[in-house]
Symmetry: D2
Amino acid sequence: MDMKDVLDGVWSDVSAHLGEGKVADYIPALAKVDPSKFGMAVMTVDGELFTMGDAEEPFSIQSVSKVFTLTLALGRVGEAIWKRVGREPSGTPFNSIVQLEHEHGIPRNPFINAGAIVVADTLLSGHEPRETLGEILSFMRHIAGDDSLTIDREVARSEQQTGFRNAALANYMFSFSNIHNPVEKTLGVYFHQCALALNCVQLATAGLFLANRGRLVSGHTVVSSERARRINALMLTCGHYDASGDFAFRVGLPGKSGVGGGILAIAPGKAAMAVWSPGLNANGNSATGTRALESFARRTGWSIFG
Amino acid sequence: MDMKDVLDGVWSDVSAHLGEGKVADYIPALAKVDPSKFGMAVMTVDGELFTMGDAEEPFSIQSVSKVFTLTLALGRVGEAIWKRVGREPSGTPFNSIVQLEHEHGIPRNPFINAGAIVVADTLLSGHEPRETLGEILSFMRHIAGDDSLTIDREVARSEQQTGFRNAALANYMFSFSNIHNPVEKTLGVYFHQCALALNCVQLATAGLFLANRGRLVSGHTVVSSERARRINALMLTCGHYDASGDFAFRVGLPGKSGVGGGILAIAPGKAAMAVWSPGLNANGNSATGTRALESFARRTGWSIFG
Amino acid sequence: MDMKDVLDGVWSDVSAHLGEGKVADYIPALAKVDPSKFGMAVMTVDGELFTMGDAEEPFSIQSVSKVFTLTLALGRVGEAIWKRVGREPSGTPFNSIVQLEHEHGIPRNPFINAGAIVVADTLLSGHEPRETLGEILSFMRHIAGDDSLTIDREVARSEQQTGFRNAALANYMFSFSNIHNPVEKTLGVYFHQCALALNCVQLATAGLFLANRGRLVSGHTVVSSERARRINALMLTCGHYDASGDFAFRVGLPGKSGVGGGILAIAPGKAAMAVWSPGLNANGNSATGTRALESFARRTGWSIFG
Amino acid sequence: MDMKDVLDGVWSDVSAHLGEGKVADYIPALAKVDPSKFGMAVMTVDGELFTMGDAEEPFSIQSVSKVFTLTLALGRVGEAIWKRVGREPSGTPFNSIVQLEHEHGIPRNPFINAGAIVVADTLLSGHEPRETLGEILSFMRHIAGDDSLTIDREVARSEQQTGFRNAALANYMFSFSNIHNPVEKTLGVYFHQCALALNCVQLATAGLFLANRGRLVSGHTVVSSERARRINALMLTCGHYDASGDFAFRVGLPGKSGVGGGILAIAPGKAAMAVWSPGLNANGNSATGTRALESFARRTGWSIFG
């Protein structure tokens, strides 16, 4: 298989669809992004990199960050984290609070907002947000192999000013004793992690350990192969909110999307892929990004389902 | 890898746990089954068969049948079926009616009871239940390569007498025009398909096409490779009701369970596995069967997640 | 207060609104009713009768019948009925099944469909539907003082053919052991009680005991004054489904509506009122009937709220 | 009727039950209250006052305050308030957030917490919490005829520190644009109004206008008679959270309870009653207080239901 041919094929499938979908507008700083942008990067387990379009333009990774903070939190507290957050698909939108009431403040999984706020709370664990964010940033720079990677302060501020629904979730879980730090501090970490700015190359590089049995291209171990497998399983079942089933059906790869229009997808044993296209479909996932990955999976035959 | 060693290892992991869980008692004919039974069969894409324990004793496959009726229905009406049933995890128990009210009579996926009743209704499509059941039975005998395979009439009768919650689901969907045949006829098909009696060898053989890009060991095509992939994706995200995420996390293979204690699991490109152990865990899935598959996936390294 | 003036005033308030709303069309036999019909009858505790418009034309009382079957069931099993049905407003539409799942098959109150089906089941109690319906009919004739009162068989048949959502409710509660008779028999009673045909005069007469401390105009005791009070309380809090609060707010009298367009309202110590106008508002209650009672309550000052 | 005899009778019904129920412990300052306290006051429309027990000991009126802030808000914005809050029973506990998600941030009624927070937001309306609280306090002193009445700052602080679930509700509604002031300010008003400390005499006096067609004993008009009627209707259908139906059934009077153990009840045209007993039943309403009002209504025959 010639990956350049594959990407050319993907391009022919998506080029007529650039600008489709609706750019997230509830975070003012995101609403300004050019909807016709499209980038894609493939980083193979052999360390080969393939790119297309705006693959080197940074974007706000938003919920894609949840994969990385979960990885960090598992390293910190291990499987004990599953006492505070479930690992089942939610059947509800990303910001639903209904499930929390029925299940006593335990979020369904770490990839819906409530679950990721619990994960951030785990990382904070009595420290100052500044320290925890420093730790997250160091980790991201390490796995992306790029020390220039940073947090977009304007986006973080923008989220903090408008994140009332997340504030509702955090206060609600606090009332069930499932947030242990002051709500503002936990939300501070959460809003800033969502504001991490990466380009497709950095994101595909950062996600590679999930395709590579827990190891970076350099051979350095980030997590055990079993943990990498389990994170992939969670991405497959829960990575696209209430469209996770559809993504598995159409693309057939573990993936995590963000409202910034980015998606990280994993082909175990083969490669990590990052796509970016800001227009979102009705479920809040990148419209053209999903289309690109569907085309990519079909052309490579890399679906994990045979 | 020596499959006999693998199965010996699985046995050493489960032998202390035989009889765990609770045999389904809401269907009287099932309540009589010996809880200490345990069988397992592995059918590889090369046509090799490995068995263990009570692998040749027939059991009621119950909801595992939903995989096969979905396959038949996709052949009959194609992708149009997704207008009448979704493909998202439900986040609710197998017999929940709540989701139906919120989503206007469209079941979340074809593997919860409501969804499988719609699938049965699709197959019935104006015919008599007897004809449709004949067709289902022929299909099962064909893919299992065993003409002796049959429906357990006592179990079917037992379900019909006690299946009031399924009758509620069917009447409810009828009121939304999402059941097109008389409710009793559709339920008649559904209750009888659930009463299909297979042993592990037959079940693993019948499921092989899902591991083999849509083809039987004989090379005969049952479905396209794309369709096989998609059915596997549905099994992964929805095959274990509200424990689908946990099964993906622990086992890492597409699977479908039934309250008779059977589970069909698929390792794409490698093999189909059937396990049977009647005791169920809190989510209604075989307790020891799940444990066996978790051990099997770890020992073979066949998880689809890397 | 001159009741004739009051009714003239009501007429001036409603005459421009005849035909408003939407006639129930899910029961074919009801869909044929002339939407511009309007009748009203007031029966005082002194036995005075006042009428207006089509007050002597029979209509299908539908859910208004739930008041009378509850009265009968309380006489039969007493307060024990509250083990099988609650007495709280439901906050959901008349035919919701969601609440039943969350509360283990116990309907919220006797005036939503599920609750009335349980009440019918209580009355049936091992007898044949024919006998129970005979008993209901005798009771209605007794309290309405009119032996000509009957059940409209065409409407009953029409309901039986289309009542799949009620069949869902009944089967569902049966699965929770909260229906004790065969589902078809209980539904047979329920569908026929809903098909009782009364005119406004008969309905106001039949309801008078609720305004008159449990006694008919003749002085004959139907229920104790305490029981009459309690039924009135239930009508106030639960008599108009999820618009019960609005009816209390606007009209201020206990009332029970039916999809046939009838409403029975009670002014304790003063009179029973029946109105009929087939067009329904968004909540399934008579649009012009509600308007008439609002005008009536304002003009008489009979609101129970001061 | 001799009111002293009535109260003696009530005492004989409740004296064996003092201390029953569970004192609210989620607000630390409330948890310290002696559970065996019991007080009752009856203020008639003729200005006669009858008291019993600890009727002159102040307690935290908590949610009973919602009746008075609603009265103020109706005076301020009139019926327009019903665009921001419904008037239907909720069928859910006082602090439920589920309904808000399903109904786009519009609380079901002004007496659940979410609804009362919207009412507080209406009163705040761009002012400082201090000013709004001054206005609420002036109003309470005016209608209670007692300038010594005050807000318990310790209780207010205690609520502010522990009110995370209310903070969740407020943030959530803010995200739907149904809170117009900064969340902390609106919550500041809400927590302080709940901390109003009144004794039974003051509370019965303050509530009298609802029994007296909107007028104080002095004849001074607080609201129109129509508005008083409507507030009573809301108290009847929504005043006791998901036990409102039960309170109507057993007591038969409009009433509003608070977790401090107080209940205000209205007998239109006759009197306002305040009871206080800190132990709460399973629904969060005063156990002995409800019992006292049930006895009182039976002995006076003042039920609004006949």
